[in-house]
Symmetry: C2
Subunit: 295 residues, 2 copies
């Protein structure tokens, strides 16, 4: 089979053996935003024409390729959902000479007051990481990033989840607010990062704590090259502080550097998180292919 | 006397009678950022040369003119502080032929964990509004804006205060984040604003609630032209939710439209706020002049 993780800014393709092991992998900066005029079939062929010509099937895709801006919108499946429910909501695209592919849907849930949340792509990563979760009971899986996701998982299904705009708020505050004026591109300073996390646990609220990034700099309490690290800790700390029922088995799934920071932040909350193998999307797509073939 | 409220983007001058009543007022878009090469004396003369030539004294100024980027830095006075303490920290500038003016300092305080906060200009507005506060006991004065201030005032002195980056976070999220993409410049929709305030009172945290602005739009729960109003209510709601000891006499001091919105938001928290006369800076400078002349 062919598994494709096709996001906003990147394209990653994997050719898998029957047992799910990866025989070959390719990637390109060919995210859906780089594809014009809806020419997704052409973009796909430009990357893996040889695999397709060799008759490798099925082709399964996940990520923003299934969004309104992608190849075809794959409507969100509703939580709770596992491989079976997600596979049942996949949509098919076809092109050329009898070629076709499946696109995974995203997931949606509504909280106690009916406010909706969505994910697209992360649900497949979670499926791919299920084997690494300790069996029995509820696990919390955090996928940090521009829009961090916290998913509650039990018995192979995502029960519900919440998205936090942590990464994007960091980027816009650094890039466009008065806080960014004093910031440098120095590497992360762990001490300042942890000071930010601890600050998040104090009263005052995020909007007030943000101004403290400026005043601490202004009054000489925080060096300019540490300011971004403190802000990062402050935001990640506020994210973690608002996760309900933060206990039990907590896992981190994502890029190495970011999950390492989240692990440090979680320790400030007394929580020891386990790191999941970041290459989970391909295993999730393999699991979906198995679900598809069973129905 | 001459009272001058000189901020980042605007210049406002008042010529006062002995009893503090305003005889004449002038304003110009001549904030400190519009003055180049430190030519503040020239800028001042360009606006009120005739008043100065007539020998009108003293000249008192407040606002960012006393910041590091202004005419001369007037170091922050420490809380608690009233007219006496603030007057004692004023600094003097002189120019030309025996001309001089006083610049009010800002205020600083530190919270329980020694994180500093600062204001510059608002302290003079608060002094100018003291007569409108009900005597006896602690009052809370909120000055909404780009950087909203909440000050606890008692017996004519600012006990302490906290700044919230509410206005700036609204601006950068609308202007530079994914949330802004769906927003229009429609006038404030009160119903959506109040829905945002109510959302702020629910669990989940601000970083999660922010993503809800997007998901509610995405799933059709919130029309694009209402999205900015909802975000505004959400942020102001989070600001209010984090004000400690929000009870007793609560006052709003600032521009009419914004204080009206804050009043609506405070009502969602069961708090009835009184509006203070927004023209308070000039009365505060008058009070400082009286303090100066007494010492």
């Amino acid at each position: 089979m062919i598994a494709i993780d096709w996001g906003t800014s990147s394209f990653r393709a994997y050719r898998l053996a029957e047992d799910g092991s990866v025989n070959e992998r390719r990637s390109a900066p060919l995210g859906i935003l780089a594809v014009s005029d809806g020419k997704f079939a052409e973009a796909l062929e430009s990357q893996i024409a040889d695999w397709l010509a060799a008759g490798e099937t099925p082709v399964l895709m996940s990520g923003m390729i299934g969004s309104r801006q992608g190849w075809r919108e794959a409507p969100y499946a509703s939580c709770p959902a596992g491989a079976k429910e997600i596979a049942a909501s996949m949509v098919q695209v076809s092109w050329g000479d009898h070629r076709s592919a499946w696109i995974a849907p995203g997931l949606t849930c509504r909280d106690a007051t009916r406010v909706p949340d969505v994910m697209r792509g992360e649900e497949v990563q979670i499926l791919g990481a299920l084997d690494q979760l300790s069996g029995g009971g509820r696990s919390l899986v955090c996928l940090p990033g521009t829009h961090s996701k916290w998913a509650a998982v039990e018995d192979g299904r995502v029960l519900d989840f919440a998205t936090h705009m942590t990464g994007e708020v960091f980027a816009v505050m650094k890039g466009h607010s008065i806080l960014g004026r004093m910031m440098t591109d120095a590497p992360v300073d762990l001490e300042s990062f942890e000071a930010g996390v601890r600050r998040a646990r104090e009263p005052g609220g995020l909007l007030h704590h943000l101004f403290g990034v400026r005043t601490r700099g202004l009054l000489g309490d925080l060096a300019n090259e540490r300011s971004a690290s403190y802000l990062s800790g402050l935001l990640i700390g506020h994210e973690i502080a608002s996760v309900p029922k933060l206990a039990g088995n907590v896992y981190l799934l994502g890029a190495v550097q970011l999950t390492a920071l989240y692990r440090v932040a979680l320790r400030c909350f007394g929580v020891e998180a386990s790191l999941l193998d970041p290459d989970a999307a391909v295993r999730g797509l393999y699991r979906l292919a198995q679900s598809l073939s069973r129905h």
